[in-house]
Amino acid sequence: MTSAIHLVDLQKSFGQTAIIRGINLEIKKGERHAIIGPNGAGKSTLFHLISGKYEPTAGSVKLHGNEITGLPPYEIYRKGLSRSFQVTNIFHRMTVYENVRCGIMWNMGYKYSFWNRVDTTEEINLKTEAVLEEIGMVERAMTPAGLLTYAEQRALEIGITIAGGADVIMLDEPTAGMSHSETEQAVALIRKISENKTLVMVEHDMGVVFGLADRISVLVYGEIIATDTPDRIKENEAVQEAYLGTEHDDDA
């Protein structure tokens, strides 16, 4: 079976500075995979490289065995990979309903259609409503996205990401900045939406990571120093040294 995402010697430099320094990683189909690491380790950059926001300096990215290196984001999305953003990235002037709908149309085959009417196409609307139900935002459907609370915007961010039914979902710090109870809700939501899908997430909250992930990769200074199950990562000495050490430095 081919893996969902396969990275081979992936590198990215900005000018002279190497941010990602040769990453090899295989993420299996149906796996929930978390990427952790100290600030500035290159986690978001790695996300950008996989999802097509940045072009790698060297190396390759494969999605379900197909080469996607250097493709624009929309091509990668069409091949079944959808991602969310660390800084909320929604359509502020549109309603919640319309936001979710934007995430649905392409994969339902409506693409660049200028011969279908969106509001009379029952198929699109039913799917939109199902997603709204799933992310628990039915009540807020007609609210302009810019007026939502922070936690709601984060939930909408996830909603847009999963709406198209992509089978590889990448979430960039989905619970960042949330309160304890909000985080719990978010975890439940992520668990629900990632059923039967491949999930890759960057997360700082260790509770969330160890509760959700099947496997964890530890990224330090642009390199993955370990990939393993949560239990074994906890015991990994190199991780404790490199990652937890720097983490404490950060806090100091």
């Binding site: 624009p72 929309y74 999305y77 934007c102 259609s113 009417r117 409503e129 709204l132 709406a163």
Partner: protein
């Protein structure tokens, strides 16, 4: 099914009924309008012009309002649509092609579409400033070319034709102004309906999404460039159609249809009407055309007034006239308009004062400056004014300054009353 689905179906059903009634009303108004003109050719001419401008500015708003692209070169599609339609018209007359004149706008639309696809292919990579500058450059390029390629553009005289030739449809040969009016009205109805429907299609909705957040749109499967290109081609198509109607109406197309003034007109109409609403450009086109045709009869410096209104709109009414009207929608629905009108009445006086002051000073100044020597009496607001004395200057400056001071003093209380009533109206709506 969820309650949301029921609610949405309910809402849609109501909306469609409303929309259907609205389109029927539009058709009725377009059809009956000439009955109220009492055979006035001037009214017909102005109506025809408004019709053309409605199509042109709606097309423009496919870019600006819906797609977030600011173009300074829309005249390219309008003018080229016009010129090629004119050449086509002459071919119809020469019997080289067979086409009823009523369908000539299809030719203009096709030209606009093709040009839009070509130019859009390299100019829609980004919206924003770069896009605006490219559109300006291309606009200038085409405008300058029109003076070089004399054979095609007819030089300063332009190209003329005869719309009464060719095969007739329903026995109409467009010899009378009224027939032209109905032709334009029919096309206005078709074009407006098509553009309205376009804004409701997947790609039309994504045009809004790309306008708001191009990056995110790419992560849900849409190439921002391609979405813009489609809007751009559509805008070209309808601009070309408007240009074609211009050719039919005036039977002459000159290089003026390609110049910067023509490019600027839809921008001014859209901004005054309100770029954020589908109906905005329509209101803008009506307002602007009435202003220019009526005002230019009374004053030579009417363009100055257009400029002043335009700048003031951008500064104080970013949502345009439509935005100003729609601000009162909840209040009207809650039947609380009566509470707010008296306050408006109070500020109306100083605002009228400001306008009178500006107009008075400009007109007197213009007259004093340009009248032949010894001629010092002008007629302004139906009163004769001696421009050589200081009196009119003092008077108009006085009402201008006085009006301004009064308006400034009352503005906060007006805004406050509005907020209060608006809040009440919204609160009432929730119950």
């Amino acid at each position: 099914m969820s309650t949301l689905t029921d609610m949405r179906r309910d809402m849609n059903a109501r909306m469609f009924k409303q929309q259907r009634n609205m389109w029927i009303a539009v058709a009725l108004v377009l059809g009956c309008l000439p009955l109220f003109y009492g055979g006035s050719d001037f009214a017909l001419t102005v109506s025809i012009q408004i019709g053309m401008m409605i199509i042109f500015s709606l097309a423009y708003n496919m870019l600006l309002g819906q797609g977030g692209m600011l173009s300074f070169g829309m005249a390219v599609y309008f003018g080229m649509g016009g010129f090629l339609s004119m050449h086509f018209m002459n071919m119809i007359e020469a019997d080289t092609v067979w086409l009823p004149m009523a369908l000539l706008p299809v030719v203009g639309a096709f030209i606009g579409l093709v040009l839009g696809l070509i130019i859009g292919s390299f100019s829609t990579r980004k919206a924003g400033t770069i896009f605006a500058m490219i559109s300006l450059g291309i606009g200038e390029l085409v405008a300058a070319s029109s003076l070089i390629f004399v054979k095609f553009f007819g030089g300063e005289e332009g190209v003329t034709g005869d719309r009464t030739m060719g095969p007739e449809m329903f026995g109409v040969d467009f010899a009378s102004e009224l027939e032209v009016y109905y032709l334009v009205a029919a096309w206005v109805f078709i074009a407006t309906l098509l553009m309205f429907l376009f804004s409701r299609t997947p790609v039309g909705r994504m045009a809004n999404a790309v306008r708001d957040n191009p990056e995110r749109a790419e992560f849900v499967g849409y190439s921002q460039r391609f979405v813009r290109l489609i809007s751009f081609a559509g805008a070209g198509l309808f601009s070309g159609l408007a240009g074609s109607l211009f050719a039919i109406t005036y039977e002459i197309v000159t290089e003026e249809t390609l110049n910067a003034v023509t490019s600027g007109a839809p921008l001014i109409m859209v901004m005054i009407g309100g770029a954020g609403y589908f109906i905005g450009p329509i209101i803008g086109a009506i307002f602007y055309t009435l202003l220019s045709t009526v005002l230019s009869n009374y004053t030579e410096i009417w363009l100055m007034y257009v400029g002043i209104i335009f700048v003031l709109t951008i500064m104080y009414l970013p949502a345009g006239l439509t935005g100003l009207l729609l601000m009162h929608n909840p209040i009207i629905k809650a039947k609380k308009l009566k509470r707010i009108l008296p306050v408006y009445g109070k500020i109306a006086l100083p605002v009228i004062g400001i306008f009178l002051g500006i107009v008075g000073l400009l007109e007197v100044g213009h007259y004093a400056h340009n009248a032949s020597a010894g001629d010092m009496t002008m007629s302004l607001f139906f009163v004769s004014v001696d421009t050589s004395s200081y009196l009119p200057w003092i008077f108009f400056t006085g009402i201008l300054v006085g009006g301004f001071m009064l308006a400034k003093k009352q503005a906060p209380s007006v805004a406050e009353t509005y907020e209060e009533v608006h809040k009440e109206a919204l609160g009432g709506g929730d119950k």
